[in-house]
Amino acid sequence: MVEPLLVVAGLDAHYRDFQALYGVDLQVDPGEVIAIIGANGAGKTTLMASIAGLLPNRPDAIRYRNEPIGRLRADQVAARGIALVPEGRQLFPSLSVEENLLIGGQLGRPGPWSLETVFELFPILRERRATASTALSGGQQQMVAIGRALMSNPDLLLLDEISLGLAPVIIKTIYEALPGIIGTGMSAIIVEQDIGKALAVSQRVYCLQEGRVSLQGHSNQLTRAQISRAYFGV
């Protein structure tokens, strides 16, 4: 029996004035890729923000390597090896492409990822390394956001809606790069609206509906009917 990497247990979270998550349970094993699906407003982004430390919680609600991290600040969570690619990319506008990547790497955690390996993964970024991040296309910005998270050499990578607002061909490029990233032994949680993509890249899937886990199972065993019931509640 492997020790789980991340255990979320009975997580309640509030966003602004309303409660966004109700007693969410979730588990990620080492090397495992989990997908989280659900409609807009189901609480997916709040769940990511909670794990990453952007929303304070009960210490025990989130355990990482058997250590309570629910109350830690985002920088402390990052230092333990969890990196978030936030929804909407959120690059630093006054930093160049290279500087955005370097900021991601400033924790100095050892591992395979460096400027060099990120540029190998996304060669276009090498050409545009000195460009202001605001001058990039949406897809290139998403590559920087992923590269920036990788630069901290995380053990658990959180990817929040990385295909949002991108052209299908760009989404394809990015998803083609994913196995190369996760193949390095990293675990990942992928939030994705596209159910097909979510099932294809993950081993297990959780479906959120109105802040609760409405379905969970192995990605290759769930039926369309089960998922659409859990997704839409019909």
């Binding site: 920088d75 990052a78 630093f92 930093l95 400033q106």
Partner: protein
């Protein structure tokens, strides 16, 4: 010739104002904080310099070796102990807390050093001068000006070419995302304030060498620094230097017309520029 002389002296004085302003500009740039106690911190630095020179018998410029790190430490502690609690969407809290700090500092200095004007004695440096084409340039004002240029160049380099500068800019852009990158906002802000007050330390010692000072003059220094920042454009360090120069020249020219108009002329130049160029001469291009 009198006029030319006034303008040149005004330019040099502008260097001191830019030193007053650089710290304000820095902390506004990094954390959008406006520190009302900034002027009183400059005065505090002058008193620190005075105390150090008195106790150790050092030349005032040598006192910088102690004043700069001491001010930096004060800045870090102040930021982490008090000011970080006020940072957020609410504008009132930082304003009122730093206003309270200003009153505390002013009266604390009054208690310790009394209201008597003090001055640091820099010996021969104060009177030394170089004649340049009919104008006499004081060595001290020139040194002050060059220091200001050096400080601003240094801050500019730090901002754009070091990991610390990168952290400052990232935190300024988006605090939450910077935190995700492992940057602890509270610590980054502490470092920004430490750096700002280190610069303030230089400004304070120069102030104390150039003129006599007493605990009540902090507000005036804050205003000069503030005017330089606004004239130059928020968040633009070289603009701040130019703002300081414009302020210094306006004051010198005003004083040349009528000695009573020195300060008034500076404020009026500021208000006119505010009316004509509300975003300053070199507004920061971002967003």
């Amino acid at each position: 010739m009198d006029w030319l002389n006034a303008i040149v002296q005004g330019c040099l004085l502008g260097g001191l104002y830019a030193l007053f302003a650089a710290g304000l500009s820095l902390i506004f740039g990094v954390m959008r904080l406006v520190n009302i106690a900034h002027g009183d911190l400059i005065v505090l630095a002058a008193y620190l310099g005075l105390t150090v020179t008195g106790a150790l018998g050092l030349h005032p410029l040598m006192s910088l070796l102690i004043v700069i790190p001491a001010m930096a430490l004060i800045g870090y502690v102040l930021q982490r102990g008090i000011l970080n609690r006020t940072i957020g969407d609410d504008l009132l809290a930082p304003l009122l807390v730093t206003f309270g700090l200003s009153v505390i500092l002013q009266n604390g200095l009054l208690e310790v050093f009394s209201a008597d004007p003090q001055k640091m004695n820099a010996g021969a440096l104060e009177t030394a001068s170089i004649p340049v084409g009919g104008i006499t340039l004081g060595v001290l004002p020139v040194l002050m000006f060059l220091t200001a240029v050096g400080v601003i160049a240094g801050l500019q380099w730090m901002f754009y070419h070091t990991a610390l500068g990168r952290a400052f800019r990232a935190t300024s852009d988006n605090q939450a995302i910077a935190q995700l990158m492992g940057l602890n906002r509270a610590h980054v802000f502490g470092l920004a304030m430490a750096l700002a007050l280190a610069v303030t330390g230089i400004a304070g010692v120069f102030l104390g060498i150039r003129t006599s000072f007493d605990p009540s003059i902090g507000g005036g220094r804050l205003i000069f620094g503030f005017e330089a920042v606004i004239i130059g454009g928020l968040g633009n360090l070289w603009g701040t230097l130019l703002g300081g120069i414009i302020l210094g020249v306006s004051q010198a020219v005003g004083a040349q017309i009528n000695p009573g108009w020195q300060l008034l002329a500076g404020h009026i130049a500021f208000l006119v520029l505010l009316a004509v160029r509300p975003k300053g001469l070199f507004p920061r291009m971002d967003g």
